[in-house]
């Protein structure tokens, strides 16, 4: 008879244990890749996730992924907030061509992918949605590489700006396409019209309110870095929670929150806060989970040509816009080229967008998934390499970074 102080076998490990373990494994994989192959750490996290995920060892199950969805949102929320918080409206005011470049980058990229998909006989709506998703660069990958390399300089700043703009562009466009999707599936027009309105205005309003609340509290708290750090993190958590609960877009809410927190803070109540090592923890867990949710099964030979076209046209669209308008905004041709390469990572939230659509209209979602998810798999692995290469080549990585 076993004594009572011993646990029953097998012991019931809580999710916290699994969570901690995932971080440790991801961390090890990341450091190993960096040390032995000088590859970006992020690849290690993703590969570890893929190896442990539903398609690998199965330590991370689909259920677990679903349970941890809030955690993923939290990680993305923090990253997107920081991205927005770096955006200075003043820069666009001083450099109008930069704004033109950013808009052109999104438009050209969207147009190029859309054209390619229509050429492959995709229905226009499907093509448009896939193209909208493809327009976004992954804020998470870009921010992680920038942090990892301690990159600093013109290409880095522009990379972050363009990422923010194309992410917002992609999300807004995708949302505006929703009515057509609803109508195609014979939902009522109220539904078709109100859904995007709710998503866009709801998210923007939530971001605005979070910002106002935070600015008021920050002004009262005073300028101590420690207290402001806690305030910022907790407000981000609250905003993510609210967006989640109200079925709003976490990304859109948080990027609005970030941009407004920087640009509405006329009295400079908020200090420039560095999230530091705490953020690194979120990066690891995020990419382990992203790795676990990669749909390797989405691959099939038949789709290879489409996927290739999707990836190539996406890159060409971005590159063309940057080469055409970059020089007017103060980047030379080689800088524009490097910027196009740095923008390659495809947003992991593409997976989420596809999932959302899948839940709404399963049939349509599956068609979308075949193309987009394959591209995600490829670009999730190639993207970090591209961004790292571009920033190193531009001489903006820290020598010790």
């Amino acid at each position: 008879m076993s004594p009572e102080f011993l646990p029953a076998l097998p012991p019931a490990f809580s999710q916290a244990t699994v969570f901690g373990l995932l971080v440790v494994i991801g961390l090890l994989a990341g450091e190993a890749l960096r040390r032995y192959a000088t590859l970006p750490r992020i690849l290690g996290y993703v590969l570890a996730g893929a190896a442990l995920g539903p398609h690998g060892a199965g330590l991370i199950t689909d259920d677990l992924l679903f349970d941890l969805r809030l955690l993923i949102d939290l990680a993305i929320g923090l990253i997107v907030f920081e991205l927005g918080f770096r955006l200075d409206y003043q820069w666009l005011r001083h450099n109008r061509w930069l704004f033109v470049t950013a808009v052109a980058e999104s438009l050209f990229c969207f147009g190029a992918i859309f054209g390619a998909l229509v050429f492959f006989d995709f229905r226009p709506l499907l093509a448009a949605m896939a193209a909208a998703i493809g327009t976004a660069t992954s804020p998470a990958i870009v921010m992680l590489i920038v942090h990892d390399l301690r990159a600093q300089g013109q290409i880095t700043e522009r990379l972050l700006l363009l990422t923010a703009v194309n992410s917002v562009f992609a999300y807004v466009l995708l949302t505006l396409l929703l009515p057509f999707l609803h109508l195609q599936h014979e939902a009522g027009w109220e539904h078709a019209l109100l859904h995007p309105l709710y998503l866009l205005w709801g998210s923007a309003l939530a971001g605005y309110l979070a910002c106002r609340l935070m600015l008021a509290i920050a002004a009262w708290l005073g300028k101590r870095e420690e207290t402001q750090f806690i305030l910022l993190v907790s407000m981000v958590v609250v905003a993510v929670g609210v967006a989640h609960a109200l079925k709003l877009s976490v990304s859109l809410t948080l990027i609005t929150f970030g941009v407004l927190a920087r640009n509405l803070d006329k009295g400079y109540a908020v200090l420039p806060v560095h999230f530091g090592h705490g953020q690194q923890l979120f990066f690891v867990i995020l990419f382990v989970l992203v790795g676990a949710s990669l749909e390797f099964t989405a691959f099939n030979i038949a789709a290879a040509a489409v996927v290739t076209a999707y990836i190539v046209m996406r890159f060409l669209g971005k590159a063309l816009a940057l080469l055409a308008f970059g020089p007017l905004s103060g980047t030379n041709a080689s800088g524009a080229g490097l910027l196009a390469v740095a923008l390659v990572p495809l947003s992991g939230s593409a997976v989420v967008m596809v999932r959302d659509t899948t839940t709404l209209y399963p049939e349509f979602g599956r068609e979308l998934a075949a193309v987009v998810l394959s591209a995600v798999v490829i670009l999730e692995l190639v993207g970090p390499l591209a961004t790292q290469f571009a920033l190193r080549r531009a001489g903006e990585a820290h020598p010790g970074g």
């Binding site: 820069w91 450099n95 400079y268 103060g330």
Partner: protein, 373 residues
């Protein structure tokens, strides 16, 4: 060409060099966009020159040579506008001040050119700690002998320039209690200090030849003296000033140097004496630490006096020359500031007190420099 051949220049002509901070708006730490900014400025027709400095976070404005300081001010103002404009395109801000209040020196990156690399090779961390920002003022001299005499004479007034320009009260995130902490970073270099007590250019050349034979120096650039002759320009260079927060104040300091030069030429300045070098480092420290409120030991008068008062006395003495040089109003403005104890360091401390953080201090300093007044 022999670097040490003294090229005569018009006596009392003035020129200034201003080292400026490049700041990134999102966290107000130092940026590293010097190369891009310089490339943009290169395409514009500007008087003088804009050059790289040792780290990628600084640029240096060189004015052209002037005989009248109001014109110098006009030119500096024109360049300031151009720099602010081009920096805006790159999302970089520009600021005066002797030191960035909270940057981490270990983060600095050395501007990629041969000379700066060799400085890092030789001086290690000192080179990166040397991310401080000064104003250099050149005064033209007709001969090497005159330059040597002017060097000695100006050494007497080094504390004046330190106190008048002081604009680096914060360093590495702390209030240093100094008015100018920048000079401490300079003092760490082995060849900092002052010119030896030589009497003429020939004697100076002997001294230099000896130092070169010992392998201590290769060129004049290796001396980090407070005041040093610059034979290729035919000038004496005052190097102790913090870069002021405005180009206007930079011009005021240049006008003061010019007026002192005029005093020297009239023979009305106090004679340089060896005794001065006994008290020099004490006087210098007092100026760095306490600014205008510090004390100054005058070995000629055999007494210790208030630095601010000494400056006002000297300004009064120089006033007639200043009028002749067309900078009377500028010196009056300088004197008015001394009377109320106003300095850039004081302004920075007040911003800290009202705004609450060093990030705010940097932002306000940028706005002040970009506006120009």
């Amino acid at each position: 060409m022999d670097e040490l051949a003294f090229t005569p220049s018009a006596p009392l002509s003035v020129g200034v060099e201003l080292e400026l901070q490049l700041v990134r708006p999102h966290d107000l730490d130092l940026a590293r966009d010097a190369a891009e900014l310089l490339a943009r400025l290169d395409k514009r027709k500007l008087p003088g020159a804009v050059k790289p400095e040792i780290t990628e976070s600084m640029i240096e404005l060189n004015s052209s040579v002037h005989t009248r300081c109001p014109e110098l001010l006009e030119e500096l103002d024109q360049v300031r506008q151009a720099v602010a404009q081009e920096a805006g395109v790159l999302n970089v801000r520009v600021s005066g001040g002797g030191a960035h209040p909270f940057h981490d020196w270990a983060d600095r990156r050395i501007y990629p050119n041969e000379r700066f690399r060799s400085v890092v090779e030789r001086y290690g961390y000192l080179a990166k700690q040397f991310t401080v920002f000064g104003q250099h003022i050149h005064i033209g001299c007709a001969s090497g002998d005159e330059a040597v005499r002017l060097c000695h004479m100006l050494t007497r007034y080094v504390p004046h320039f330190i106190a008048l320009s002081a604009a680096s009260p914060f360093y590495q995130g702390e209030d240093t209690a100094f008015q100018s902490c920048r000079l401490t970073a300079v003092s760490a270099f082995p060849l900092a200090g002052h010119i030896p007590y030589v009497q003429d250019w020939a004697e100076f050349l002997q001294y230099f030849a000896r130092m070169r034979a010992y392998g201590i120096v290769e060129s004049m650039k290796d001396f980090y003296w407070d005041v040093r002759p610059k034979p290729e320009y035919g000038t004496v260079e005052i190097r102790v000033c913090d870069t002021p927060l405005t180009v206007r104040r930079a011009a005021l300091l240049a006008a003061y140097a010019q007026a002192l030069g005029a005093l020297q030429r009239e023979g009305r300045a106090r004679r340089a004496s060896r005794a001065l070098y006994m008290v020099n480092s004490f006087n210098r420290f007092e100026a760095c630490r306490y600014g205008l409120a510090g004390s100054l030991v005058d070995p000629d008068e055999d007494r210790r006096k208030n630095l601010g008062e000494d400056i006002l006395e000297t300004l009064a003495l120089a006033a007639p020359h200043a009028a002749a040089l067309g900078c009377g109003e500028l010196l009056e403005e300088l004197a008015a500031g001394v009377r109320i104890g106003e300095t850039d360091a004081g302004w920075l401390r007040r911003r800290r007190a009202t705004q609450g953080s060093l990030a705010d201090v940097v932002r306000d300093a940028c706005s002040r420099w970009e506006k120009g007044a």
